[in-house]
Amino acid sequence: MEFAFSAEQEQFRDILARFLKDKSPPRAVRRLMATAEGFDADVWRQACGEMGLAGLHLPEAYGGAGYGPVELGIAMEEQGRTLFCAPFLASAVMAGYAVLLAGSEDQRHALLPGIADGSTIATVAICERAGLWSESDITVAATRAGDGWQLDGRKRFVVDGQTADQLIVAARSAAGVSLFIVDARADGVHRSAANVMDPTRKLADIDFDAAPAQLLGIEGQAPLDRIFDAVLVSFANEIVGGAQAMLDSAVEYTKLRVQFGRTIASFQAIKHRLADLLVDVELAKAAAYQAAQQLADGDSATASASLAKAAASEVYMRAARECIQLHGGIGFTWENDTHLWFKRAKSSEVFLGTPGEHRERMLQAMGV
């Protein structure tokens, strides 16, 4: 298989990288991670309006730009590189794909334009106690109430759950697991911020107490695996952006730091470590790009999505650890920015499944 980005895709990457460099430097990340909402509404509007980021992968019929997983992957990679604080993963990727893949035509028309232009912030609530994106883990109960439904139970690890306007919730009824749309501000929805290690990605726990809900799509036929594959592919691309940022930071610092009268980057032991890391990052990127292309081609991407998530998140952790080590004493201080990426690397390693769980999922998808 041959894969290369087109000149236009590279140009888009360059422009987006500049936008994020301007709007999401480490000082902005530090400022926003200390806020409850965790993002800058003006920058979010510009990202969704002027740059059309949130609708990049959504069809034009629903207010999107009509591109696919490869272009979304570029957007995610660049965001991961700068730790862009915004509800992009939650709203554009997770909720966007959930509505697109599960919703009826009317529901897509009702929900996706708002997600695409950023005026609606949505998220999905799948995981519960075990933190798994899996039907077997879902205990939140859905029961009919009048013309609609009501939900009872608790969801955990909901990305941007505190700030979302709309929640896409997986719940169990007699027919099996379905997805439901819940107004996040409705009576019976109680949201609390989770205590997280990575403050650049806000998570919430959400309790539903007879919360009014509307069925998304068909009862008992939530396409959780297809949504999960699409989300994983995007997430893996975000992760490799972070890993690349750690490699770049390590290279830049070692070319600057002088010891024994020469830069430490000139020492062979440092060169070898950086070269090994480069190989790892490139392999993880290849896995992430290939998964995005496979999804774009309409093939089943389960194996490649899980492979990409497993490979990318392991490399991100390794890159973050190496970056701290190569920075020496300054590397683990609060003033140095490396810890911001280290924490994102750690949260990305376990969020939506550990590398071990994804290897198992990949093998099952391959029939092994």
Partner: protein
């Protein structure tokens, strides 16, 4: 009204420029290049004029190597309607650029030419003024506000000590300062649309302009490295050093 916007491909503003080992110029091998930031402001201003219904067509023009097409594509993605590349691998000095632009102006007959006040690679700050002189057009340089008023424009200029507003009749030349606007970022759909917009490639010979250099660069050197600072114990010592060592008071 047509607006002509010259754009230059320069070393990216985030890149630390390095001098070639033989000191003949700046090393551009494998260096990221992008549109001169002041030219981006010029493109943005032209687009805003078009969006306000004050212009019908925006033509971006660049003079440089084949890769300058990328710079023009960026201008097209931002909102320019068509582009002209005058392709050359030679170093083109501001006077030659101004002469080529005059030829383009003669051919295209724009009502307004908006240029960056200077390019961040050579910081010449000459092209706009030279073009105005060659055309015999009024010029509003270092613009921080450009307003179309009746048949002319009012340009607020950033000058030493404050702001000066001048009224110009059209056609005219405007050079942009940093605070004129904040250029937009091109979206992916607009990048794709730009691919289909017209981009004509010409040569200096097509316009009959001699671009041979009038200047000779003798040597290029990096600025002297900043020496480390020192702490002084008393004000008297500080005054003494400022007077006798630095010679500034």
């Amino acid at each position: 009204m047509k607006i002509l916007v010259p754009v230059k491909r320069v070393i990216d503003y985030n890149v630390k420029a390095r001098v070639k080992a033989d000191k003949t110029g700046v090393d551009l091998a494998n260096v990221k290049m992008s549109m001169n930031p002041f030219d981006e402001i010029a493109v943005e201003e032209a687009i805003r004029k078009k969006e306000a219904g004050q212009a019908e067509e925006i033509i971006a023009v660049s003079i440089g190597p084949a890769q300058a097409q990328e710079t023009l594509r960026t201008a097209l993605a931002m909102g320019a309607d068509r582009a002209i590349l005058i392709q050359t691998d030679d170093i083109v000095e501001p006077l030659a650029v101004a002469k080529l632009l005059k030829a383009v102006v003669d051919a295209e007959q724009p009502g307004l030419v908006i240029l960056g006040k200077q390019a961040i690679d050579d910081d010449s700050n000459q092209t706009g003024q030279m073009l105005a002189a060659l055309l015999g057009w009024p010029q509003g340089t270092f613009a921080s506000i450009v307003k179309v008023v009746g048949d002319g424009i009012e340009v607020t200029r950033e000058v030493d000590g404050g702001l000066e507003t001048v009224a110009l009749t059209l056609p005219a030349i405007v050079t942009t300062d940093l605070r004129l606007n904040e250029p937009r970022y091109a979206s992916l759909p607009n990048i794709m649309k730009a691919k289909k917009k017209q981009l004509d490639v010409k040569t200096a010979a097509d316009y009959g302009v001699d671009i041979s250099p009038r200047l000779k660069t003798l040597k290029v050197e990096e600025p002297a490295k900043r020496a480390g600072g020192i702490k002084v114990k008393t004000i008297e010592e500080l005054v003494d050093k400022l007077k006798n060592e630095a010679g500034v008071i």
